[in-house]
Symmetry: none
Subunit: 191 residues, 4 copies
DNA sequence: GATGAATGAGCGTTCATTCAT
DNA sequence: CATGAATGAACGCTCATTCAT
């Protein structure tokens, strides 16, 4: 018998409930119920609800960044690397819609602001690959000479919007459309 | 002496507090306090908190759409019209950062989902100008042949991201940068 | 044009609403609305809600006692006088169900207790006719030798219960049944 | 040490407070305070205030009906059975004045109406003993030929009134008076 | 470690009462 | 006289957090 690991169950339940109902639609009692543990048990693994939420955020980010870096070849051309990152991102979200919803909920909350700040200040571990790619693109003059944040918005903003629409069922992202969408993003940033 | 109009004060206070703290970080007691009225007064002007929130949303949308349509010339080329819409949007949000934050909070909430659906179904009054422009662009073959939702994401997704960064102080959008950003969005969607 | 007399309108509205919804289901705003006056107007005629309620109670009591005394002949035999009182009471309530419901609401509330006490202490003006009749009945040995309150309960308790059932539609009190019911009450108290 | 059982404490406090102050004079905060628990605790045992009130009503009804049926002998004469029911009822209420007051409050409220209807329709479990006895009395021609509801009013209406007077201190019901009162009720319904 | 009964601050909402007009 | 906008105390209810078992 696999050990069901209570911590893991709690994380799973929290992710699912918050992704669907938002932070305020997911009381700890409901989370504990879904996870099959007592409410008090949550406090054995997490300091409080805020920490639970923040740790799940980090978990997702780690999984996401691991997947994105898989097969990322720094020696390849900037464009190719960008397409790799973009499609990997899109595919990850499509396959893990709960993670996407969770990230959205998270960014749109008091918690999220600080994290965005960390990225801009370059203090976030695994965000650097985005930064570096965009900086390199500007340096090599294959991308427009725009501020880092603007390039980032042009490159990844549409991907988030499009993912949301896919999850809500407004469009259906197949492999072909994924590639064409990321290519269109590239058109936005390339010189 | 101007009459301070309690309803107006309530709206102002609600907008400011929800923009900063989100729906759940802005209890009615706090709103009433900030507006300089009693809590009961809110219920003279709004049926309940949900209606207060929804009405403010509509107010913003009306103001926004009025401003965007100002000077919009349907006879001009698609590209020119797109630049008009994009820069107007960006300028409005920069000048009314609370409105922007409020819209973001709203879209990321149970309330917001229905509104997005309305847009996709083309049932929202003033959203049609976006739809029509994108459809026309595709028909005239000046834009990529991508689904409506994808084009919308490419065209306006970056604007939202960039606005957030501006409000958070990560970049400073001056007139020149606004134009260059919208032009970059155009590059993303144009054929 | 008849003068609509705001005070009268307020009383009418209050009676109707409280009879149907009870004290707590009839806010002053609703009463004022139904009466066609401003809420503040109520306070011109009544000190507060409690006084409004108490005065209406007295109004009903006065009307009731006036009607009951109409045709009451102190020189007639005790039994005849009792039948007169009982049938008059029953008929009044059947014709004025709102008054009946109002009295019930009133008696079953903090207000009502004091009034009952007044009756028992013989301090209520128009209740004396009941007292005197019952006392005379005992003195003349046509009624059972039971305490005043017990006789009162036997004599009038069933009338109240039966009226409620009539108003709720469980029985239909016609003239014949009214008489037979009051006669049955007499059987309960007569020696 | 007896375990004080919070649920029991809540019930006791609610019963006492509602009996004295009515439904609207007994806020949950006051009930919780009196029961020596937090307000939230009430919701562990009862779905909401309405359910709390309804469950207490059922508790009382069950206790009352159990006591009344104790020693009830269906083979005895109608009169004897009636005296049994009447005196048992009166004794129960005298010994449990809070239960009596509570029932009165309950019947005089939106809750109570439905229950009365149930009785009239014969759908209430333990009320049938009253119904059956009255029906049998009419069939055997020992009681007056009056509608069920009228007989019920004659039989039990005075008992309720007399109980209220006893509780309020207007009369003192000792064993002798109890019996004589119930016998007087019998006189009211017997042929 | 694990539990869930217990807590009470805080929420959205109502309504008797006041008072400027 | 008459109004009704304005008030805020008080309500029923929720839920993050604690702690005895």
């Amino acid at each position: 018998m696999e050990k069901p690991d209570k911590r893991e169950e709690i994380v799973r339940a929290t992710l699912a409930l918050i992704a669907v109902h938002g932070f305020h639609g997911a009381p700890l009692a409901m989370i504990a119920d879904r996870a099959g543990v007592g409410t008090g048990t949550i406090y054995l693994y997490f300091e409080n609800k805020d920490m639970l939420i923040a740790e799940i955020y980090k978990d997702i980010e780690d999984r996401l960044s691991a997947l994105i870096m898989e097969g990322y070849a720094p020696e390849k051309p900037v464009r190719e690397r960008f397409l790799h990152l973009g499609t990997a991102l899109l595919r990850y979200f499509i396959e893990n819609p709960l993670d996407f919803r969770y990230l959205e909920q998270f960014h749109n909350s008091p918690y999220g602001v600080g994290f965005r700040r960390d990225y801009m200040l370059g203090q976030k571990r695994n965000c650097n690959v985005y930064r570096e790619l965009l900086e390199e693109g500007v340096d090599r003059q294959v991308m427009k000479n725009l501020p880092q944040a603007t390039l980032f918005a042009l490159a990844f903003g549409p991907l988030l919007t499009v993912t949301r629409d896919h999850i809500l069922g407004f469009i259906s992202l197949d492999d072909s459309l994924i590639v064409r969408t990321v290519e269109a993003c590239w058109d936005g940033i390339r010189r």
